[in-house]
Symmetry: C2
Subunit: 490 residues, 2 copies
């Protein structure tokens, strides 16, 4: 693990709009917070892309020897349905006729199961919003004491205009408060707010609302933005290194987090803000209502009308890694087929590497290649460049295999080590043997069929019968059909 690599990482910081050298608060240690899912439905493919992107970043930072505390939350309360006063989980509970916490459990399980299939490493801490209500209430008291939040009819709101007097609301999304007021006034019907851009820190619950807790202001529930401030500050400190999430969270969610942290702790929470871009499907935004939508499990099972076949989680992950996390990525049948081909080519090379013959010299700049790989990842975690570099060595491996190039023992060892590290540890791909057990059985049985054909030609029926009977005892039945033999496995 070349720990000096950590000195040359550059990260595109959404807060400044620039690629900056990555300097951590404590040398060698990284605190990273990523906004997790709201567990009211099966995990969305676009969200999955975001989590895979940050998993790869987590893996790379680990690989170069940094110590990371990676916090990714579960939102199990407070995320409101757009244009409504209903919590997303409460709404789903009403529709599915189960308790809100049963909704939470069902979709938390789905989230974990899906991420496991895609080989994501669990975060160091996975806190829930409901598990941090006292912390959220304490933050609200803090902001009220500073007159940056006000109570109205049992609900508490963040006072954006007041905050903006000494801070800059809109710093991340580069929005102007005056414009925001102008743009949002018409849509807003919540008259409890002093200004339409104010956002809820605590909401008084309607009497029929199940998810509600005692607070100094009312029986209610916290606002969505507050949980991340409570949990990131609790587990990473008031100021930490990286805050990540999907592009759609930049405004208002992350903007509000910055405002809350400045209000509570007089500091911007994260030094580096990272945003993963959108995933589109066949050139258009995914949307359930238009039908242009597909779930991760539907791609894996092939149970969908969009794709010609099923694709393994590793192929899907490889496909995602072929785009940079800050680029829009379009998923289509052709793109997945191409990725599948590339993925198998890569896996074949990894396997071929195990049986290469060595010689006294090497026709490849191994040291330069290793540096290129690190440079790619150090440049804002550029996985498509890394993959291009990986295919340079794949090409070389194939030349050596075809005896058109040479490699010496030490270099072979180095290529093996680094290729495996980048492919499995960093990109998080799964090894599938291109030749599975079933393929192997097939190959071996074919050898026996050939021997049996020869025995039959030689009229050695003792041998041909023996082969058939031995195979039958092993559970493999030969079927002779018009001079050709195939077989079935019981």
């Amino acid at each position: 693990m070349p720990s000096d690599k950590s000195n040359s990482i550059k990260i595109y910081n959404s807060l400044t709009g620039k690629k900056e050298p990555f300097k951590t608060i404590t040398k060698g240690y990284v605190g990273m917070y990523v906004c997790g899912p709201t567990v009211y439905s099966n995990v969305h493919l676009g969200n999955l892309r975001t989590f895979i992107s940050f998993d790869t970043i987590y893996r790379y930072l680990n690989h170069i020897g940094m110590k990371i505390r990676y916090v990714r939350n579960i939102t199990d309360v407070g995320h409101m349905v757009e244009d409504s006063t209903e919590d997303r989980i409460s709404e789903k509970a009403r529709v599915e006729k189960i308790a809100p916490m049963e909704v939470v459990q069902k979709y938390t399980n789905d989230f974990h199961d899906t991420l496991k299939k895609f080989n994501l490493i669990p975060p160091s801490i996975e806190p829930t919003a409901q598990g941090h209500l006292i912390e959220q209430i304490e933050l609200i008291k803090n902001m009220m004491d500073k007159k940056l939040a006000y109570e109205k009819n049992g609900s508490v709101y963040f006072d954006v205009m007041e905050y903006n007097k000494s801070n800059e609301y809109g710093i991340l999304s580069r929005r102007n408060v005056e414009d925001l007021i102008h743009n949002t006034r018409k849509l807003d019907g919540q008259s409890d707010k002093k200004n339409p851009q104010d956002f809820a820190l605590w909401k008084k619950a309607e009497p029929q609302h199940i998810m509600k807790w005692q607070s100094p202001w009312s029986l209610g529930f916290p606002g969505w933005h507050l949980e991340c401030t409570a949990m990131s500050s609790k587990y990473l400190g008031e100021q930490f290194d990286i805050h990540g999430g999907g592009m759609d969270l930049k405004f208002p969610h992350h903007e509000c987090e910055i405002a809350q942290a400045n209000a509570c702790f007089n500091t911007s929470p994260a030094n580096y803000w990272m945003h993963a871009n959108m995933l589109t499907l066949n050139g258009s935004k995914m949307s359930k209502s238009t039908g242009n939508s597909i779930l991760p499990n539907e791609i894996i099972s092939g149970d969908n009308k969009m794709l010609s076949k099923e694709f393994s989680p590793s192929v899907i992950r490889f496909f995602m890694m072929q785009a940079h996390y800050r680029s829009i990525l379009d998923l289509s049948n052709d793109a997945l087929l191409a990725s599948e081909k590339g993925y198998h080519k890569l896996m074949d090379a990894v396997e071929n590497l195990e049986n290469l013959d060595t010689s006294s010299k090497t026709d490849f700049d191994v040291k330069g290649w290793v540096n290129n790989c690190y440079d790619a990842m150090n440049d804002d975690f550029n996985t498509p460049i890394l993959i291009a570099k990986i295919f340079d060595v794949v090409k070389f491996i194939n030349l050596v295999k075809a005896e058109k190039a040479e490699i010496n023992k030490n270099d072979l060892k180095q290529v093996k080590t680094k290729l495996n590290e980048f492919v499995f540890d960093v990109l998080g791909l799964d090894k599938i043997k291109s030749n599975t057990s079933d393929d192997k059985i097939k190959s071996v049985v074919e050898i026996l069929i050939e021997l049996r054909d020869k025995a039959r030609n030689d009229k050695d029926f003792e041998l041909s019968d023996k082969i058939r009977d031995d195979l039958k005892n092993a559970g493999i039945i030969l079927n002779d059909n018009n001079g050709k033999t195939d077989f079935t496995i019981n």
Copy 2:
């Protein structure tokens, strides 16, 4: 699903010490709460047995068509180390030099992974103690208002003597308060308590303690017993059907839960208390300090010094099902080997059932057999009796296969349906093919090795070399050693 079966279930109720007809509060619905793990270490084999026992009960109630809300908690705060004032999770965090919530995450992940291997169905709701602090604080206020709890130096205790004036502390464990006082006084050094048998509802945290929250009494943390009262009442109501857990939780944990519920809601929480018995290892209690201890994963991997080989989760589960949940179960190498044999015999019968020939009559009382199976489970979920009944039909299936008995088409269908339901849906066993792909490859390669040996004896080196080369191309390398040939699969 014969829903009338739900009318004849009897449950041994630890509260009354009697087997009683199972009457649910709402017909057709069951509320079940089971005390989950404290996530400060890898899940213990004894605890696993408890969770498998209640999983089987959950599966059976589901099978007969009841609607169950099954709540199993995660204790992530408040469970104290014996004879100390340190929380188990805090202690582990200190030892492992990570944050308490990293301890929680690590062992929650281990718990979920292990339970998945053993085919447990996730509960409907899996709440955490940290996720219900406000609820716990509200219960404490309730008990203080009733003078059944008192504050001292920032901590709050339940007043057992006061409670005992109008209630019966010790009702579950059949202990007498006077005896308890006599037995515990010497050991107790916590002078804040009025009486030694009083238990903590809230503990003021030491300054260095990380896990602490704001409350009306101090910056502190809740007592261990309180979380279960908070979560069971929240998700199942103040009174519900079944409360389960390991025998070791009967006192003081469940006794305290009963006292808290009576104090808060004027009702005993559960109508049926069920306790799963201990698991011993080679005749003695498991204990890390004496070395008489083994983890579930060590049995599966074979990485241990106690057992002669590895055992699959299904074999271990089958072994556990062969004892009644209220009996002590002793795990040993011989016992596991015997279970493995029985398990394979059962799986062979399930497989043979698919290829049985039918005739016009049946030499077996299928209807009576089905009833016997239900009777076994209705009798306090007696899985060993169920397994004995299942082996009656296994014996019969083997007779039919050997053409020594007959079965007609309808009865075969019924046996298939019910055997599969009991084995897979109720007992929760996994189907493994008795002959795996690897076994098959081995058998087929052995045929080729035999042919090659013959070719070499016949001096037909062309053939023997061809077999070796063909196998190599299929990824199978032959190794000749002192006249014997084995092989490795790449």
